[in-house]
């Protein structure tokens, strides 16, 4: 079972690197769907989450539905609507981004190693993946100019936070806390950003946040 969990985490890491390197928005959304599903099933394969109740299983199904289907669906709609295929002028290039992603993995490994003393249980890879996903999400938000890519970066960051929550939660009551928070967060991020994306589209020809720089001092 542990090996399976490690394999899933490796896939998550791979999706992180892929998303940093991909310039096609459609592909990016598909990668995010895969990552969402992988992230939401991770807890099922962890040792300390083995004895699950019915309600918990239901929660996982909902999570998979939201992260794997609903949100990517919305994102695909958004991509089609604004009819842009690729992110043309990233602030940091794709190769440099992948390289930065590798650096983030190393950094996360270092941080996890440092924190190891006070960690419950033994899942080093989980925490490494979680911190990498979080940091890469932030990186994506800062290094891309399109509004959609920024939203995707935010989603990735949330996935990272969810993984950190899973890694750290030991008892069942805290586990529910993790799930509930993220569910709401996802709803908020997508609903509002979706609406805003729509309006950015009608107000500008291009969904480029670089155009949003009128307000400054």
């Amino acid at each position: 079972m542990i090996q399976l969990a490690d394999a899933i985490l490796a896939v998550v890491l791979l999706t992180v690197l892929l998303s940093l390197g991909s310039n096609r928005l459609m592909a990016l959304v598909k990668i995010m769907a895969l990552q969402g599903i992988m992230v939401s099933i991770t807890p099922l394969f962890l040792e300390h989450h083995q004895n699950l109740e019915g309600s918990a299983l239901l929660l996982f199904q909902v999570m998979i539905l939201i992260k794997g289907l609903l949100i990517p669906g919305f994102l695909i709609m958004a991509v089609k609507k604004v009819s842009i295929q690729r992110e043309i002028e990233p602030i940091i290039g794709y190769h440099a981004s992948i390289f930065a992603g590798l650096g983030l993995i190393l950094l996360s490994a270092f941080i996890t190693d440092k924190l190891h003393l006070s960690m419950p249980g033994d899942h080093a890879l989980l925490l490494i993946t979680a911190i990498t996903t979080l940091a890469a999400g932030l990186f994506l938000m800062m290094s891309r100019t399109k509004a959609i890519t920024q939203v995707i970066g935010y989603l990735m960051m949330e996935n990272g936070i969810y993984l950190i929550g899973t890694a750290l939660a030991k008892q069942t009551h805290t586990m529910y806390v993790v799930e509930f928070g993220v569910l709401l967060d996802l709803l908020v991020a997508i609903m509002i950003m979706g609406i805003i994306l729509h309006n950015i589209n009608s107000a500008f020809d291009d969904v480029d946040t670089a155009l949003l720089d009128q307000l400054k001092d």
Partner: protein
């Protein structure tokens, strides 16, 4: 049924969203009045929470609730007249969101559970975004985008901080409900490192919402682009709610014996906010942005005061009350000016003293108040913070503090003088109306009254709120 405090505005908000605008205005006023009544009942101890696991009447929360409810009533009176003048397109949405905003902020004030607090603060972002976007201009769109994106990141980090606090519970083998009231009692058993990490993340997260520099970048845009009643609410009520989140975790840190650490962090963030606000106010071309930067400054002052501790904490709590009263009054006056001249640029505005004598009166008095002149309350609160800082030997930080106050006064007074007395050829678009002047006047008057006479209940509540972190009037 303490929960009525936020259930009532939700119901009213749903009603107002479907009713025609005329009726909606009535609903807004009635809901605001009822909300103040329920708040008063909660203050008198007539209401008990039906879900004590999630909500409580913590003194600091009650304080924020009272301030929010009080200024909301006057903002809604102003908003009714404002809506008549501006012929808003989406009035039902505006009224609905104002009420939902009130509901979520009341929920923040009452929340005792770590996650419920987080959900409530999250929800404030959700319902206030449409308020900022109401004008549907390019600038409003940009402001809303920045607001939602930056605050979402902040809130996500706050969630992470909440996880860390939960983890510190797990590691310390503490088995109590995840509420602040029960955590404070067992704080010394919590794992120190993770609690510290939790504090930092929560401070960055809620600090973003509160407008602490350097996470403040959304605030001037959002406050200047939102319609004036919404700006007043954002500045006067929302920032307090975010501060409440920071404050609660600070009390937890204090109870765990790490109060020095969190106090120093708060002092540093407070001073950075004040310095940045001072720099940007100095040559500010837009008066609504000036007020927004002044909010950043005042949030910095509150964080600074809480960080200093002792007497300064009492000053910070007073500052919170008076800043809300005066700043919302200022934003309402600024709304009159914006309606009257049709521009936010200081350079195009002048001769306010002649053209808009009443709005000039409230704006100028508000400016005097926010700059710390007697007889308004900020004079006392800033004085107490300075005395408190001297008593505890924070000489360097208090020098920076005083320098920033002078800097901001210099910058703001130039702008206000120019607006009040310089010549202008701008035509007057909308005359000022009594209904749009009286609310800001009453808010100022309240600050004045509270300056000379503080009700015993209010005083006792402030003392109860700050005694947890060692704050006292004689401390």
């Amino acid at each position: 049924m303490l929960e009525l405090v936020f259930i009532l505005p939700i119901l009213a908000g749903i009603m107002a969203s479907f009713l025609p605008a005329q009726l909606g205005r009535g609903v807004l006023l009635v809901a605001a009045l009822l909300h103040l009544q329920i708040t008063a009942m909660a203050w008198l101890g007539k209401l008990d929470p039906s879900l004590p696991a999630y909500f409580s009447t913590a003194p600091e929360g009650m304080l924020v609730l009272l301030v929010t409810s009080f200024i909301f009533l006057f903002i809604s009176i102003y908003a009714v007249s404002y809506m008549k003048e501006t012929q808003m397109d989406n009035e039902p949405i505006f009224i609905g969101c104002m009420l939902f905003f009130l509901a979520t902020m009341s929920m923040v004030a009452l929340a005792d559970h770590l996650i419920v607090l987080w959900i409530a603060i999250e929800a404030t972002t959700l319902v206030s975004a449409p308020l900022i976007f109401l004008n549907r201009s390019k600038a409003a769109l940009e402001a809303t985008w920045k607001y939602v994106l930056i605050c979402s990141v902040g809130i996500a980090l706050a969630l992470l901080g909440s996880f860390f606090i939960t983890l510190s519970m797990d590691l310390g083998n503490v088995h109590v409900p995840l509420t602040f009231s029960s955590l404070v009692a067992v704080a010394s058993q919590l794992d120190a490192i993770w609690l510290k990490a939790g504090f930092i993340f929560v401070l960055i997260g809620y600090g973003t919402k509160m407008g602490l520099a350097p996470m403040h970048t959304w605030l001037p845009d959002a406050h200047s682009q939102a319609p004036s009643p919404a700006s007043a609410l954002l500045s006067g009520a929302l920032l307090n709610c975010a501060f409440l989140g920071v404050y609660k975790v600070h009390t937890l840190m204090y109870a765990a014996g790490m109060g020095d650490y969190s106090s120093n962090v708060l002092i540093v963030f407070g001073l950075i906010s004040m310095v940045i606000a001072g720099i940007f106010i100095l040559n500010q071309p837009d008066y609504k942005r000036m007020l927004a930067y002044s909010s950043i400054e005042n949030m910095g002052i509150i964080a600074f005061g809480v960080g200093i501790g002792g007497l300064a904490t009492y000053g910070a709590m007073l500052h919170l009350i008076h800043h809300s009263l005066i700043k919302s009054s200022l934003f309402l006056s600024a709304g009159n000016i914006l309606l009257g001249y049709g521009t936010k640029l200081v350079n195009k505005i002048g001769n306010m003293a002649k053209l808009f004598p009443k709005s000039f009166g409230t704006f100028f008095a508000g400016f005097a108040g926010i700059s710390g002149f007697p007889p308004f309350g900020i004079f006392i609160s800033e004085l107490l913070i300075i005395i408190g800082a001297f008593r505890t030997g924070h000489y360097v930080s208090v020098s920076i503090f005083i320098f920033c106050l002078i800097l901001i006064f210099a910058g703001a007074s130039r702008i206000v003088m120019r607006m009040s007395f310089a010549a202008t050829d701008q035509p007057v678009l909308v005359e000022e109306k009594m209904m749009r002047v009286v609310p800001s006047f009453i808010l100022l008057l309240t600050s004045l009254v509270l300056c000379v006479w503080l009700p015993e209940d209010l005083y006792q509540t402030i003392i109860n709120a700050i005694s947890v972190i060692g704050g006292a009037v004689n401390g």
